[in-house]
């Protein structure tokens, strides 16, 4: 589903964010991407979205080499990937509901479908009450959940979450992880970049650990800490 083949990413001239990374994620897998701050997790996410181009190596998503996707076909590629951004990336001039709706409008869905779906998904992430608030009126954790709702709403085959529980209290975190688990069970490929040690240890999923831009560990049922 997602394949990194000898991928390196150098920012500027000498800031090496990824160093010859090989990684294969199969359809339907649930993968945790862990590693210290600055180890290159977000860089991998941005590469998968084709927000950045790798300095060398090949990335394949859904059988398509990203370097072969022309500019006008990039939106279609991105619609196949729901993404929860580490910095949320909500539109400041839209309410929570409108932000979620935007991801559906982008794909040309009917207004009626949008009106039905958006409140459901906001309820699911526990934000039914905050639907009409703007990002500036929401707490960090609430904004994060709007971002999660927006990533889910289109039911993409791939879901990527960059620190989806970074700003959440333990109870809400558990709720979000359960949601990710459910989403994975219906066949969605899920990749979660996180620092959330407890969560990783509890869920016992595949864990890929990055250190200074290299994959240093890849365990089928791993924990956060084993010999990092």
């Amino acid at each position: 589903m997602i394949n990194f083949d000898n991928v390196s990413k150098v920012y500027g001239n000498d800031s090496i964010a990824l160093d010859h990374v090989d990684l294969t994620i199969d359809p339907g897998e649930f993968v945790f991407l862990v590693g210290a701050s600055g180890s290159g997790k977000s860089t991998m996410v941005r590469l998968i979205l084709k927000e950045l181009e790798p300095s060398s190596g090949t990335i394949t998503v859904n059988g398509v080499r990203l370097s072969s996707i022309p500019h006008r076909a990039v939106p279609r590629h991105r619609r196949a990937i729901g993404c929860v951004f580490q910095d949320f990336k909500l539109l400041p001039n839209k309410t929570a509901a409108e932000n979620v709706a935007y991801a559906m409008e982008v794909t040309g869905q009917k207004r009626r479908a949008i009106r039905v779906k958006v409140p459901q998904i906001l309820d699911l992430v526990g934000l039914g009450e905050q639907a009409d608030k703007y990002p500036g009126q929401l707490s960090g954790g609430e904004q994060q959940r709007v971002s999660i709702a927006r990533a889910f709403v289109g039911q993409p085959p791939i879901l990527i979450a960059d620190e989806p529980t970074g700003n959440l209290d333990p109870d809400t975190s558990v709720g979000i992880m359960q949601l990710l688990h459910r989403i994975n069970r219906i066949g969605t490929t899920v990749l979660v970049a996180t620092h959330d040690r407890e969560m990783v240890d509890v869920m016992r999923k595949r864990v890929v650990a990055l250190k200074d831009g290299r994959v240093v560990r890849d365990m089928v049922r791993g924990g956060y800490a084993n010999e990092v």
Binding site: P75, R76, R79, N93, Y102, A103, T107, G108
Partner: protein
């Protein structure tokens, strides 16, 4: 994907409400530019019309030989009336010429007392369609047998030259100002779009196509251009009507005319220019932030 006009219009309207200050800046800039452009346009229209009016007063007088027979006069007259550069031909008989002379010197009757009616020759007074054609017409008259010609050659040439300078000067100024307007207005739009480049980036990252992101911005530019240009164009046309009336009342000897300006044409032209700049300006400004 279907084109969701309702969605795009709602987006554009909302953006304009939220970025009211930026919108007002863009509208004001457009209005000021279109206003100046419109004033320039009307000014040159009036100047050109005045020059044409003055040119109309330029006449060539072609004298007939003494006692020219009636048939010769009629034939010559018909011929001259057929010249393409000629607007109007009036026959002045010998008697009429004398009358005019008497009128001119009515204060000093001794000058014309006892003057023979045949002393002053009959003539054709020829008004030209365009002042620049006087040489051509004179040439034709000579080759058609007229010997005595009287026309203010120098005045005509001078006028023609001045007309040319003025008209070209005004056109050059208009073009220059049009270019300046395009830059000013698209700059105002670019600033407002630059302030929202992060939003554009986010839209692209959640899967919006270029045109999906661009359309509300272009609609916004269209509305801003339309509003600004319409306000300015109405002001220009209204101001013109007042100005023409004022001149006609206060300085009646200036042959200013409201016919010099095609009001509807000016309105449509100015509004079209505003809308075009608004649409083009936003289209080009968004484009540079779509490369995400």
């Amino acid at each position: 994907m279907r084109f969701n006009l309702g969605f795009f219009l709602r987006e554009a309207a909302k953006n304009m409400r939220l970025n009211a200050l930026m919108s007002i800046t863009a509208v004001t800039t457009t209005a000021v530019c279109v206003l100046i452009l419109g004033v320039g346009l009307l000014f040159s229209a009036h100047v050109e019309s005045l020059i044409r009016q003055v040119g109309k007063d330029v006449a060539i007088t072609a004298f007939f030989p003494e006692n020219a027979p009636r048939e010769q006069v009629d034939e010559a007259r018909a011929k001259v009336e057929g010249y393409p550069e000629v607007a109007e031909v009036t026959y002045i008989s010998e008697a009429e010429a004398l009358n005019r002379f008497k009128e001119t010197f009515s204060e000093q009757p001794n000058i014309y007392e006892g003057m023979d009616p045949g002393v002053l020759p009959a003539s054709l007074e020829i008004r030209l369609a365009e002042p620049g054609a006087s040489d051509t017409v004179a040439e034709r008259l000579r080759s058609d047998g007229f010997e005595g010609l009287n026309y203010p050659q120098q005045a005509i040439n001078r006028l023609d030259q001045v007309t040319g300078y003025v008209v070209w000067g005004l056109r050059a100024a208009t073009v220059l100002f049009l270019v300046a307007s395009v830059l000013l207005i698209s700059n105002a739009i670019r600033i407002s779009i630059f302030a929202r480049r992060k939003e554009i980036e986010v839209m692209k990252l959640v899967g919006a196509s270029d045109s999906f992101v661009r359309t509300p911005f272009v609609l916004e530019g269209l509305v801003q251009g339309l509003v600004g240009a319409t306000l300015a164009a109405l002001l220009v046309v209204w101001g013109n009507a007042i100005f023409v009336e004022w001149v006609q009342n206060q300085i009646p000897f200036i042959p200013i005319s409201s016919a010099a300006v095609n009001t509807l044409f000016v309105l449509v032209l100015l509004i079209a220019v505003g809308v075009l700049i608004g649409v083009l300006g936003s289209f080009l400004s968004v484009r540079r932030f779509l490369r995400v």
